[in-house]
Structures are given as structure tokens and as C-alpha cells.
């Protein structure tokens, strides 16, 4: 497994302002370009955030629908990716609350991440076990810490940006990321990376 240097991918994958301006005016081709640029990242974030990762595709669709409706209000001084992930985070938190209330549904985070196909290849099996362990460990991190951890370390937003997105002070954000990191490290230290 190759190591990827820590970076801020959110800053690397920016859309040009013309595409955003056209999308604001309702240009469906420009909006399609936005979806193509961010869909995979949104699915990755939603799968890690949601109590039921199977809902990730639906939640991403809901996010883009909201985004498209709200695009005329988008202020270009604000970074587009921050705005997109702010909407996505809201959607995921709402979905998690709704999922909790559904007594009839019994799928828990642990059960959801355990559904891994059996593989004959030992190397692939090993990767799946590690992936499973990581996702299970992340699912145990409280939602309010997990979201900040994902925004900062996985989606690459700076603490300043996360503060603007969430309204939480940077000192508190750093504490949450540290707690999430400590919890992940403790859970995974016994696993074979």
C-alpha cells in the first residue's frame, strides 16, 4: 500500500470561475461538470459520515439537488468546495438523525462495514481486512469529531476553512481532530496495517 503525502486536495481540485458562473445561471452543462468533478469525493465523505453507508449515493444526490437550487445564492468570494461540503455535512447529519429514529432498521455501523465480499487472493483479502478495520474504527468515532477529522485530513480543508464552515472555533476543532486521531490510532494499533 503506497503512502500518499498529506496535502490539501480541496485546493488542488478547484473549478474555474467561468464554470461556476455558468452553473449559477442554470447552465446544465456547467452543473454537470461540477458533479463530475466532485461526485466521487462527496460519495467518499458520505460513506464515512453516514451511519448507513448504503445511503451515501442518495445523500450525495440530495446534496447536489440542494446545491443546484441554491446556486444563484452562491457568493464567489466563498470557496465553492467549502460550500459544497457544508451542504453535504448538513445532509449527512440530518440523515444520521433520521436513521437513529428508525427503530425498524437494525443495520448498525459495524454491520454495514462488515459486508465485505470474500476473496480468494490473500493480498486482496488482507487489503479488505485493513479497509474494514479502518472503517469500523472510524464509525466508532463520535459524529461531531468524525466530521471535522474527515474535513481536515481527508478532504483537505484548513482549520480556518472548517471554522468558517462549522462555526466552531479552531482550538475546539483541533481538539476534536486530536480526539478522533487518538481514537483511531488506539483502535487500529492492534490491527496489522
Amino acid at each position: 500500500m503506497s503512502s500518499v503525502p498529506l496535502q490539501f486536495p480541496a485546493q488542488a481540485a478547484g473549478l474555474d470561475s467561468r464554470t461556476l458562473s455558468r452553473a449559477k445561471l442554470g447552465d446544465i452543462d456547467a452543473f454537470t461538470a461540477i458533479v463530475e468533478a466532485y461526485h466521487a469525493r462527496c460519495v467518499r465523505f458520505a460513506r464515512a459520515m453516514l451511519r448507513n453507508p448504503d445511503d451515501a449515493e442518495d445523500m450525495v444526490q440530495e446534496t447536489f439537488v440542494r446545491l443546484y437550487r441554491a446556486l444563484p445564492r452562491y457568493e464567489e468570494r466563498q470557496r465553492f468546495e467549502a460550500w459544497l461540503f457544508q451542504i453535504l455535512g448538513n445532509c449527512c447529519r440530518t440523515a444520521n438523525t433520521a436513521f437513529q429514529r428508525q427503530a425498524s432498521r437494525t443495520t448498525r455501523d459495524e454491520e454495514a462495514v462488515e459486508r465485505v465480499p470474500s476473496l480468494d487472493d490473500p493480498a486482496a483479502q488482507f487489503d479488505h481486512e485493513w479497509s474494514d478495520a479502518v472503517r469500523r474504527a472510524l464509525a466508532d468515532v463520535p459524529e461531531y469529531n468524525r466530521e471535522i477529522f474527515l474535513l481536515h485530513y481527508i478532504e483537505g480543508f484548513s482549520y480556518e476553512e472548517v471554522e468558517r464552515m462549522t462555526g466552531v472555533k479552531q482550538s475546539a476543532l483541533k481538539m476534536r481532530v486530536k480526539r478522533a486521531s487518538d481514537q483511531l490510532r488506539a483502535r487500529l494499533s492492534g490491527e496489522r496495517p
Binding site: G26, F31, T32, A40, A48, V65, L67, N90, R185
Partner: protein
């Protein structure tokens, strides 16, 4: 170097979590179709929107408003019957021959039907060059309702709005969304930020 970079276990976990899922063209197509179906693009110069966008909350207010208005009509008619005055006559009209001036006026048909009611928005800002009102009632289109500036720095505009709960803000110099300092605010589910709230036609 961050903690994550120093710790090999955490670093491997981050590598795992950073893996992107494969691009799903069919899912992206579904997203675009769903989004296009959910939004009508704003068109400069179009009339102020007469249909509320947020279905659930607006419908609740409209139902409550119509129920209240119906009760109001009933009360008005009863008052008119007992005092024998013409309830349909507006307050500003001459006093009826009997000397009794109607205290209540009947609710007009457009109000009952949820037709737009003129509402004036005012904002004090001496430094702005251009301000417009944007809200769900005009699809957040800054070109729909530019405000006029008076000599004392008061900006105002009067626009028709359908009864119900609406979210809005002021667009200052085409770039800065500003909340109304005189209005309550609420969280906007789309933007994830606050917007000003107005309730139009509430009895």
C-alpha cells in the same frame, strides 16, 4: 509535520480513507437529472415569483393562514350582522349614514386565495452603491428587486409576496449577502447559513 504524518498507523489509515470510489457515470447522470428537475433557472426580468419554493413549510402556513382568515371572515360577518354595517366597506370610506363606522373589514378574496401581498423592505446603508432584496420569493435573483436609495441612506423596495414564511437577505453591491437587522433569522438548509425570516399575511 502533523501528528498524522508522524504516526505510521494513522498515516496508513488516512491513505485508506483517502481512496476515492470509482467514478459512477450512471449515478452522476441521475444526480444531474434530479437536480435539473428540482430547479427552474432564474431568468432576469421575469416577474416576482408567485409560488413559494419550500413546499412543506409554506403549505403549513398557507393552511393555517386560510383557516385563520376563514375564522376572521366568519367573525367579521357575524359582527356585521349584529351591528348592521357594511363589512365590505373599507376603513377609509365615508361613515355610513347610521353614524356607525365599521371596526372590522372583510378579508378580501385575493387574501383568501393566497395572492401576493405588497411588502416593503427597508435597510439602512450609507456606503453601498447597489442593494437588492433576494429571497425564496424571487428565486434569490438579485436582478428581480433592486432597492431605491433615499437621501438619508435608507434603501427600500416594495414587492408583492405570497402569504407564508419566507427566507431572504439583502444583496449589497452584488457580492455581499446581509441579513435584515430588524427580522428574526433561521438556518438555511441549502446554504447551511442564516437567513432573515418574514411571515407574510399572518393574521
Amino acid at each position: 509535520m502533523t501528528d498524522a504524518e508522524r504516526d505510521p498507523v494513522l498515516r496508513r489509515a488516512l491513505d485508506e480513507l483517502r481512496k476515492l470510489p470509482a467514478a459512477d457515470a450512471a449515478a452522476m447522470r441521475r444526480v444531474v437529472v434530479a437536480a435539473a428537475a428540482a430547479r427552474v433557472a432564474p431568468i432576469d426580468g421575469e416577474p416576482i415569483m408567485l409560488r413559494p419554493r419550500r413546499g412543506r413549510s409554506i403549505r403549513m402556513w398557507m393552511v393555517a393562514g386560510i383557516a385563520a382568515a376563514s375564522a376572521f371572515v366568519g367573525f367579521s360577518l357575524r359582527a356585521a350582522w349584529t351591528s348592521r354595517v357594511d363589512v365590505a366597506q373599507p376603513l377609509a370610506s365615508p361613515t355610513p349614514a347610521g353614524g356607525a363606522r365599521p371596526i372590522l373589514r372583510a378579508v378580501s378574496a385575493p387574501e383568501l386565495e393566497g395572492a401576493a401581498i405588497p411588502h416593503q423592505f427597508v435597510l439602512e446603508n450609507t456606503g453601498a452603491h447597489r442593494i437588492s432584496i433576494v429571497g425564496d420569493f424571487n428565486r434569490w435573483n438579485p436582478a428581480s428587486a433592486p432597492m431605491r436609495r433615499s437621501s438619508d441612506g435608507l434603501w427600500s423596495v416594495t414587492i408583492p409576496i405570497v402569504p407564508g414564511r419566507h427566507m431572504y437577505a439583502f444583496m449589497v453591491d452584488d457580492s455581499l449577502l446581509t441579513l435584515d437587522p430588524t427580522a428574526p433569522k433561521a438556518r438555511d438548509p441549502d446554504l447551511g447559513t442564516d437567513g432573515s425570516i418574514i411571515i407574510v399575511g399572518r393574521p
